[in-house]
Assembly symmetry: C2
Homo-oligomer: 323 residues x 2
């Protein structure tokens, strides 16, 4: 049985309304099922999102980014441990936008759960972004929406690498934590990767290494060059050792400070930006489906004319938009 | 003076029709100017693309991809040298999608020109992809279109790294060359990066290193597992040393063989896919401008409602599409 648009109906025996209720009651399995619906772009998503909408906006969404090798997953785990010690419910969404071919959850969620495996206050999920345009922009905010409505106090969004997509995600979190480590390249590298623009809290991990202090000093002097309005949040640069747990409490404190400091117009603006990207991605996906629909195939027709030089891409786009 | 949509008018004193004529006559400076118009998303692009359309479809577009460290720019230069020896006009488009903040041409074009600096048969240009959605999909094919119409026999598109964007570009070239090198990680890494799906010609660079032969052997056995239709192109795995020039001639031969083998429906299909992505990106960008236009701001309105839980993203997208 397929739905109207030809996609298979969900495997859900449980009705959506019940799944949503269960997720809101903190049932991990229901949360996982809802996120699978997001990953599958299931037709039920409309209903799910409509049901979740009134219950969103409570979670503190923290983006964690940094180059490979800085110790991102270890740091995420250390933050989870500290947040649990403070009795917060924590979800982790690990996103890997680098590989278009991984398709689905990555290995290692179970490994990463580790000591949290039996703790219902912790939820960890990996998502691969899709290869198609807007896949990342679309799936990540929807998964966040599920976790938010499910009552997690904090959602940590961990991205792999510091590329365009990662910066995009980090940029729409409530708070962005940029992770660095000694020996990961100098300040010019950091500047080039654009991290000086996106961080709300900077953390130099592996603080036990001798060069950690100088990484911190360099970063501080670079950040000092950035102009900020008076009263604006000034990103702290903290030392931490995710391995030993040293400094983790202070980092969690800084993250909470940031969201408190921005509560009001600034936080609202970030959430609006996140919603904007999400709505836009959904609308664009709908347009693409329309253009590429089997019935019309208008896009294929004009693409063929462009490929053979009979028309130019702008004239072709005009025709597509008129159709 | 600004045009109707508020963007600054081009600095062009030369009319577009003349620029196009000059570019078609092989004037390097005119080609460079046209590509700058692409990078600037100049309003004249419509006119430029309309004028170029009838002259496209002649160049052999070769995508070159591979992990950092395999020697991509050295290899590209070696290919340029060999193609010049065969009297082909060659353009190189080097694309860096990793940094959303580089904005504009990268350093080093002049350095890379090296011995080709005074050769009008060679054109080298770096492009940074933009941070916004679809930037890469949009700018790269348009630059290709300029180089194609300008009469270059071969256009080498060199991408940085093997990520999603790179694979996308590589996937729409006429021929995709995947570059590897000994000591760059094992076969599983290669498989994970998705390169087994995209290559038409595989080249193991740094063939003077002792492990080159085993990299080639491993890759061959992995490729042998891929099912291919009878008569389909079977990607060769070649050894090359870009440094010494050894094996370069054979690689150029394989690239020409591939395009000859696919000429007809297969090549047409790839070019249609490239045109499709380009037209779609232009149309989507137009939609986004419409939604985000100062006059309407419909997207901002619905995003605000989503962010505050008053509506859900699907209902919001519906309203956007109806507006």
């Amino acid at each position: 049985v397929t739905s109207g648009d030809g996609r298979p109906r969900s495997r859900a025996a449980v009705p959506v309304s019940e799944l949503v209720e269960q997720a809101r009651a903190g049932r991990t399995r229901a949360v996982a099922r809802l996120i699978s619906l997001v990953e599958d772009e299931a037709p039920e998503l409309r209903e799910v999102m409509a049901a979740l909408a009134p219950h969103t906006g409570r979670a503190h969404v923290i983006g964690i980014t940094g180059a490979p090798g800085v110790g991102k997953s270890t740091s995420t785990n250390a933050l989870v441990r500290e947040l649990r010690a403070q009795d917060k419910r924590v979800a982790v969404l690990a996103i890997d936008p680098s590989s278009p071919f991984s398709g689905g959850a990555l290995l290692g969620d179970r490994v990463r759960m580790g000591d949290h495996a039996t703790d219902p206050g912790v939820f960890i999920r990996s998502m691969a972004s899709r290869g198609h345009l807007g896949g990342l922009a679309w799936a990540a905010p929807q998964a966040l929406r599920v976790l938010d409505a499910a009552g997690f106090d904090v959602v940590l969004v961990e991205t792999v690498g510091v590329g365009q997509s990662e910066v995009e995600i980090a940029g729409t979190a409530d708070t962005t934590l940029v992770l660095l480590a000694p020996g990961m390249g100098d300040g010019i590298q950091a500047a080039k990767a654009g991290i000086l623009e996106v961080g709300d809290v900077y953390v130099v991990n592996k603080a036990d290494r001798p060069e950690a202090a100088s990484v911190r000093r360099d970063l501080r002097s670079m950040l000092a060059l950035t102009e900020r309005a008076s009263g604006a949040w000034r990103p702290p640069v903290l030392l931490m050792s995710a391995q030993t747990g040293e400094g983790v409490e202070r980092v969690v404190e800084a993250l909470a400070d940031h969201v408190e400091h921005t509560r009001g117009e600034q936080l609202a603006a970030r959430r609006r930006a996140r919603a904007r990207a999400e709505v836009e991605a959904i609308a664009l996906a709908a347009m693409r489906r329309r253009w590429g629909g089997v019935a019309s195939g208008e896009l294929d027709t004009v693409a063929d004319e462009v490929a053979t030089g009979r028309t130019d891409p702008y004239a072709a786009a005009d025709r597509l938009l008129e159709s």
